[in-house]
Symmetry: none
Subunit: 201 residues, 4 copies
């Protein structure tokens, strides 16, 4: 009897996980398309196949679903150990692709969320998101340092600069004012700044 219960519980647990994944996946699509503020529960309901009331079993609000979507995002992007130059180039290439395919980006939703919530409410969330971005970049730069390719000089500022430039370009992308040329030009400046701290260069 007990065993059955356990099996059943595990089974239910799995079903629950599946349901949540289904909702989150559908919601991601919606948030990419409409940002955060304009998204209604109905939009998410329409995208996944779940009932109006059913979705409230798992999530109490659009906010909660959004937070879950963004939480998933910080689980991706695992860096592979590689040569510094390759890592950097690959990272910038991926960012370039993201910027040129911006309809699939959650940046707009992210902005609308952090812009619209009171300070206290976004703090933790923003730290996680920003921390994730910062870690991706600083991992690469620190690899440069550990491999003795660049000097450990103003790395924090430089990391921030990468963040700021990527966010700035993202804003241009959303304003539909971004071209490949602009991206290349800006990434060229970032590379220049790297070159300046290169050892033996």
């Amino acid at each position: 009897m007990k065993e059955e219960d356990t099996i059943s519980r595990l089974h239910n647990e799995k079903q629950r996980k599946n349901k949540i994944r289904k909702i989150v996946d559908a919601a991601r699509v919606v948030f990419c398309r409409k940002g955060f503020l304009a998204v209604t529960m109905q939009d998410i309901i329409d995208e996944c196949s779940i009932s109006r009331g059913g979705i409230y079993i798992y999530f109490a609000s659009v906010d909660e679903i959004f937070l879950e979507v963004m939480k998933q995002r910080t689980k991706e992007d695992i860096q592979r150990p590689d040569a510094f130059e390759d890592m950097l180039a690959s990272y910038l290439a991926r960012q370039k692709m993201r910027l040129l395919n911006f309809e699939n980006s959650l940046f707009r939703a992210y902005c609308e969320y952090v812009f619209s919530k009171p300070k206290a409410a976004v703090e933790a969330f923003r730290d996680i998101q920003l921390g994730h971005l910062r870690k991706s970049i600083s991992t690469i730069l620190l690899r440069g340092v550990s491999r003795r390719v660049i000097r450990d000089e103003g790395l924090e500022q430089l990391t921030n600069h990468f963040i700021v430039v990527i966010d700035g370009l993202s804003v241009l992308a959303l304003a539909q004012a971004l071209t490949e040329e602009i991206i290349d030009g800006q990434f060229a400046i970032l590379n220049e700044l790297i070159n300046k701290i290169k050892i033996n260069a």
Copy 2:
């Protein structure tokens, strides 16, 4: 008789202008506080002292009011003729102040507007806004060139870099993740990039 009419007409014209200014000023406060998407006609009505129907005499929608608010913005910011270094320093100082007092900025509203409207609808608007920002920056840099302080080398990319960095910092500001240190660090990098193209330096 005719003269009286003319006087009366001019008087009315002035009253109309005043009312519009009153609405636009009130609306600016609201857009700074709530961005663009969350702003309702009611918000603007509450801020100025006008009736529900009265505001429609002057503006047909929140959109129209917003465009007028933003139009006013591009009329400010007239550069004074000055030494290149002073102009640059003063510009960065003003941006720093703006970034540190971000509750008074229309950047959030600007973002929400251009993010949410279809491409065709924002094009002209975004060009004006972006053009205004670009002109402020390129005016300064060109002054540097004409005064023979900096070389005319990659100025367009550099102008874009200023824009991108300012936008990126604005995003951080809205995410309430911006400190004075970060601003100083980023502006230091901008100055570094200027130094690199300085003549006799």
Copy 3:
């Protein structure tokens, strides 16, 4: 002094008449186009060149203007003394033309008015309008009697029949279901009914 006053009063009286005529003429156009219920003060204001407040000096409501428009209508249509057959044919021809150019008719407005007002309010108005129509028809039929062309037999019923058929055709016209063939067919039946009471026929 007194004389001047009198002149001035007469002058003003004339101006007043002119203004009222201007309003009523403009309103007629509007009522033809939009019926009665959908007409707003703004519609009439837009059509004549008078101010929002100014129109209230002469008329307290759309209703009052409408009643004036309809009152004017009962002043038209003076029958010329003529042979019975000519009068009848000419009357039917005029009705046919009216039915085929129905965008210029006040019938819709008339219907919407009498349909929407409570019994007591329309009684007098409807009696005048209906009386005017009835008089046009009975004048013709009575001419037929006095000229010994038709017998004085069931003339009231026949008059009513003319009214009913004209109203019925008007409904079809407004429903955009009326063709010239239908009009000709129905008028043929009316002529048939006349023939039945013709003397020496």
Copy 4:
């Protein structure tokens, strides 16, 4: 499990039908009372017991509800096979009753609807409504032909005449200018026209 679902679905389907019937029935009352143009969603909401938002689950607009009400109407009025004279007399008797109890008629709403909509929008609707009326009448007349009571002579014109007279009387009814005497007089003329084409008469 599946069976239960089916039962549940059927149950829901039935509930839905009931709700729609409830709304349509309530709306019919409102349309009879207020016509079409003056009816607001609120009127219908007040008449049935449903919430402001609830009614939009079933109907998107007053127009849609109206069309449903009118659609129901064309389902009624099934003619019973009968002797020609009985059918005709019974039909006229029913029309007389309708005309004398005009507060329960949808004629006003029908008029306001077809009068106010653009040509393209009403065409189909008006054809159905008019077709329904025409069919009722021509069915009777054709019975007279098939039973060799009347000649097949100008039947289309005669059918139109019945329609036109009924519509004309309806207009009088709405103008509250209709008496039993008038109805009897007009129906007498219709009967006269029938007599004229009677065989062996």
